[in-house]
C-alpha cells in the first residue's frame, strides 16, 4: 500500500541509478560522445563548468559535462566535489594579465589603441540564423591568419591611470582569503568578494549586473576592456625563493570603467569594476565586473539601497551549488514537519470556526 511506496529502499536507489546511466547513454545505436569531442566542440560549456566548479581542468570538466548529461550546474557540482578532496599547496603569484597572449581584446572606450582591437572567435557580429549547413556537418575552411603585430597591449585602465583619471587600487602582498577554507564573513573585503563572484553563477551575476543598468544601483559603466587569452601561472616555493612557471591557463578579463563624482577625500575620477573568469566566459566576466563595482558602493561613499550593492545578498546567493542544493532539497521528504503543520492548521481552523459559532 501507499505507506510502503513512499519509503525508498536501497533497491529503488540502485534501480534509479541504473536508469540514469541508461538515459545518459541514450540510444545505443548512436555513437557515444568522447571527452575529447566535448572538450573541443562544447568548449564554452566546459569553460563554464571550470569557472563555476572553481577547478581549472578541461578534461575533468568535460567528464563532468558528460556525467551530468549536459546539466552544467550538476557538472560544476561534480567538479567542486572532486576539487574539495585535493590538497591546497598555496597561492600563486598575482597573474599578469597585461602579459596575456591575446586571442581577443576589445575596448569600447577607445576607437583604436595600442595593441589594437582584436575580435577573436566571437559570436558578436554573427547573425543569429540557425545554420542548417552545420546540421549536415563538415569541416570549415581554415580561418585566415595575420602575423602578430608584436606590439605590446597595455591595459586600458593603465592608460587612464597615467592621466590620474583611474582610481588606483590599494596594493597588497597579503595572501588573499580563501572562502573554500574559511567561511564567508562580513564585511567581506574585495579579494574575498571577487573570489566568490568568480565562482558564482553566471545567470545570477548576469541578472544582478543587469539590474544595476536598470536603476537598481546607480551604475554608469563603460567596457574599458575585455581580453581573453593565455596567461602564465607562477608560484614561488619558499624552498626555492624565486618564482617558477607551473603552467598556462586561459582566462577572460573585463575591466569596467565607471564614473565617480568624487567625495570629500577623492577628486572626480573613474573607478573600476573587475571581472576575471576561467576559460572563455565573456558574459560572466562582464556581469562580474558590474556587480563588483556595485559592491564597492559602501567604500566609495555611495548610497547602498539596491540588491546588487548588498554584500550579504549577493555573496550569500551567487553560488549555484549552494543554491541548487537548498532549493532542490525541498524534494526530500518533509512529512514529519508537514504533519505538525497539518495539526497546527487544523487547530487554527477549529479556533476560527468555534469563535464564529459563538
Amino acid at each position: 500500500m501507499a505507506y510502503v511506496a513512499v519509503k525508498g529502499g536501497e533497491r529503488a536507489i540502485d534501480a534509479a541509478h541504473a536508469w540514469l546511466a541508461e538515459a545518459r547513454r541514450g540510444d545505443a545505436a548512436q555513437p557515444e560522445l568522447s571527452l575529447e569531442q566535448i572538450e573541443q566542440q562544447l568548449g564554452l560549456a566546459v569553460d563554464r563548468v571550470m569557472a563555476e566548479g572553481a577547478c581549472y581542468d578541461r578534461g575533468l570538466a568535460a567528464l563532468a559535462v558528460k556525467q551530468a548529461r549536459g546539466d552544467l550546474i550538476e557538472a560544476a557540482f561534480l567538479l567542486r566535489a572532486y576539487r574539495t578532496t585535493l590538497p591546497r599547496f598555496g597561492a600563486s603569484l598575482p597573474m599578469d594579465t597585461g602579459a596575456m597572449r591575446i586571442r581577443r581584446r576589445i575596448s569600447a572606450t577607445y576607437k583604436d589603441l595600442p595593441g589594437g582591437q582584436v575580435l577573436g572567435p566571437t559570436f558578436d557580429y554573427t547573425h543569429r540564423l540557425l545554420d542548417f549547413a552545420l546540421a549536415a556537418g563538415g569541416t570549415p575552411p581554415p580561418a585566415p591568419m595575420a602575423a602578430p603585430e608584436g606590439e605590446a597591449t597595455p591595459r586600458v585602465t593603465g592608460i587612464l591611470a597615467q592621466e590620474g583619471l583611474m582610481a588606483p587600487e590599494a596594493k597588497s602582498d597579503a595572501e588573499p582569503p580563501d572562502l573554500t577554507r574559511e567561511p564567508l564573513s562580513f564585511p567581506a573585503d574585495r579579494p574575498l568578494r571577487l573570489q566568490a563572484l568568480a565562482r558564482g553563477d553566471e545567470g545570477f551575476l548576469l541578472a544582478m549586473g543587469y539590474s544595476t543598468q536598470r536603476g537598481y544601483g546607480n551604475a554608469h559603466p563603460f567596457v574599458g576592456e575585455i581580453r581573453m587569452g593565455e596567461v602564465a601561472v607562477e608560484i614561488a616555493p619558499p624552498e626555492l625563493g624565486f618564482p617558477i612557471e607551473i603552467g598556462e591557463i586561459t582566462v577572460t578579463e573585463c575591466q569596467m570603467v565607471n564614473q565617480f563624482a568624487g567625495s570629500k577625500t577623492e577628486p572626480p575620477q573613474f573607478t573600476r569594476g573587475y571581472g576575471l573568469v576561467f576559460g572563455h566566459g565573456e558574459r560572466k566576466a562582464m556581469a562580474m565586473s558590474l556587480v563588483d563595482r556595485a559592491l564597492r558602493a559602501k567604500e566609495l561613499g555611495e548610497e547602498v539601497d539596491a540588491p546588487a550593492q548588498s554584500e550579504e545578498f549577493v555573496l550569500y546567493h551567487c553560488d549555484n551549488i549552494e543554491a541548487t542544493g537548498f532549493v532542490e532539497h525541498l524534494k526530500l521528504p518533509h512529512y514529519v514537519d508537514f504533519q505538525s503543520e497539518l495539526e497546527k492548521v487544523r487547530e487554527m481552523r477549529a479556533t476560527v470556526f468555534r469563535e464564529a459559532a459563538e
Binding site: 536507489i13 566535489a81 577554507r181 537548498f326 526530500l332 514529519v336 505538525s340 487554527m348
Partner: protein
C-alpha cells in the same frame, strides 16, 4: 535491510586508528581468518582507506591508488581517507565542535567543505559525523524518523563506503545517530552522539535576514524580535503558530534553532544525557548542546509551550506517546496514523508479538 555489514563478514572492520600518529599497517581481522595483505603503509598525503573487507571475510586489500573502484557494500571506497574528509579538515571541524560545546547554543562558523552530496541533503551533519566517527562506532541514520527513507539510506551507504563502519537501525545500539527532522522516541543515554542536519542555523533569519545583524543580536542576547513574533501569533491566533523548528533557549543564554524537528521533539533536548551536535554545511556553521544542558522552548507564563502530535494511536504498534505520520490510504478521506520512528514502532511490535 541495508546490510553494510554482512553477517558472514563477522569481525568489525580491521582498522585501528588511521591517524597520522599511527601509520602502522592496519590489521584486518576476518571471521574466517582469511589472509589480510591489508595495510600497505599510508603516507600522510593519502591516508588511504586501509582495509577493504570481502563479505566472506577473506582477503582485505589496501587501496592506495586513487580510483573509482568497487561499489560493493562491504568495501571502502579506494583513494579516500577514512570518513572521506582529510585529517586536517577533520581537525578543523573538531576545533569548531569543541568551541561549540564550550558555548552551548552559539553558532561557530567553520570552513565547510564541498561534499559529494548536495547542499541541503545533510552536508553539515555528514561533515560532523565524519569528524567524530571512529572505526569502532556504530552508526544509525534517520530521516523523518525512519531508517529506510531514501536520504537516510544514501547517507548510511556513504559512510559504509568511506568509513566502513558498522551501521544499525536500533537506537539503543548506535553510538552516533545522524538525524534529519526527528529525535528518536527512545531516551538517549550518555556516550551517544546525536548529529542533527541543519538547513538554517539562524533562529532569527525569518525576522532578520542579515547575518551581520543577527550576530549582533546574539552577542547582546537581544531576542525581543522573537518574543514579539510569538506575542503577535498569540494576539492573532490565540496560540503560537510555530509547529516545527520551534526556537529554544539554550543554557539560558543563546537562542537556538533546534533544526526542523517537530515541536513535539523539543522537550527531549532538555537535559539530554547524550551530546547533541548540529551541522549546517551550506551556511557553514556548527553548534552544540552538551549533555545535561537546559533547553527551553520559548513561551509565556500564560501561554506555556505545547508540543503537537496527532491525537491518535499508532495503527501498527498502538503507541499513544510517539510522534505519528499521517498516511493517506485512499482518495475517500481514509487515513491511518503510524509511528514516525520506525525503530521504536518495530521494537514495540516485536515485543507485543513476543508477549502473545
Amino acid at each position: 535491510m541495508s546490510t553494510m555489514r554482512s553477517a558472514e563478514g563477522g569481525a568489525p572492520l580491521g582498522g585501528e586508528h588511521r591517524s597520522r600518529e599511527s601509520h602502522g599497517p592496519t590489521a584486518t581481522r576476518s571471521a574466517e581468518g582469511g589472509a589480510a595483505p591489508g595495510g600497505e603503509h599510508r603516507s600522510r598525503e593519502s591516508h588511504g582507506p586501509t582495509a577493504m573487507r570481502s563479505a566472506e571475510g577473506g582477503a582485505a586489500l589496501g587501496g592506495e591508488q586513487r580510483s573509482r573502484a568497487s561499489d560493493g557494500p562491504t568495501t571502502i571506497e579506494a583513494g579516500y581517507n577514512f570518513g572521506y574528509l582529510d585529517e586536517n579538515t577533520k581537525r578543523m571541524i573538531r576545533r569548531a565542535l569543541l568551541k561549540a560545546v564550550a558555548i552551548p547554543g552559539h553558532q561557530v562558523p567553520f570552513g565547510s567543505r564541498e561534499m559529494p552530496l548536495p547542499y541541503g541533503w545533510g552536508t553539515g551533519g555528514i561533515q560532523v559525523t565524519a569528524s567524530v566517527i571512529g572505526p569502532q562506532d556504530r552508526l544509525k541514520v534517520i530521516d523523518q524518523g525512519a531508517d529506510d527513507t531514501t536520504n537516510a539510506v544514501s547517507i548510511r551507504r556513504f559512510f559504509a563506503k568511506v568509513a566502513g563502519v558498522a551501521t544499525t537501525e536500533h537506537t539503543a545500539e548506535a553510538t552516533i545517530i545522524q538525524t534529519r527532522h526527528r529525535i528518536p522516541e527512545v531516551k538517549l543515554r550518555e556516550g551517544q552522539i546525536l548529529v542533527y542536519q541543519v538547513p538554517m542555523p539562524e533562529p532569527l533569519f525569518r525576522l532578520e535576514p542579515r547575518v551581520s545583524e543577527t550576530k549582533r543580536m546574539h552577542a547582546l542576547a537581544d531576542y525581543g524580535l522573537m518574543h514579539v513574533k510569538l506575542y503577535e501569533d498569540i494576539a492573532r491566533h490565540g496560540h503560537i503558530a510555530i509547529s516545527y523548528n520551534y526556537p529554544v533557549m539554550v543554557g539560558g543564554r543563546y537562542l537556538m534553532s533546534p533544526s526542523p524537528i517537530p515541536a513535539f521533539d523539543n522537550p527531549k533536548m532538555h537535559r539530554m544525557p547524550a551530546l547533541q551536535l548540529f551541522g549546517a554545511g551550506r551556511e557553514k556553521r556548527i553548534y552544540a548542546v552538551p549533555p545535561y544542558t537546559s533547553v527551553h522552548s520559548l513561551d509565556f507564563e500564560d501561554h506555556p509551550f505545547q508540543p503537537i502530535r496527532a491525537n491518535a494511536a499508532c495503527a501498527l504498534c498502538g503507541a499513544r506517546d510517539s510522534y505519528l505520520d499521517e498516511v493517506v490510504t485512499d482518495d475517500q478521506g481514509g487515513r491511518m496514523f503510524v509511528c514516525s520512528d520506525t525503530d521504536y514502532c518495530n521494537t514495540r511490535q516485536g515485543s507485543r508479538e513476543a508477549a502473545e
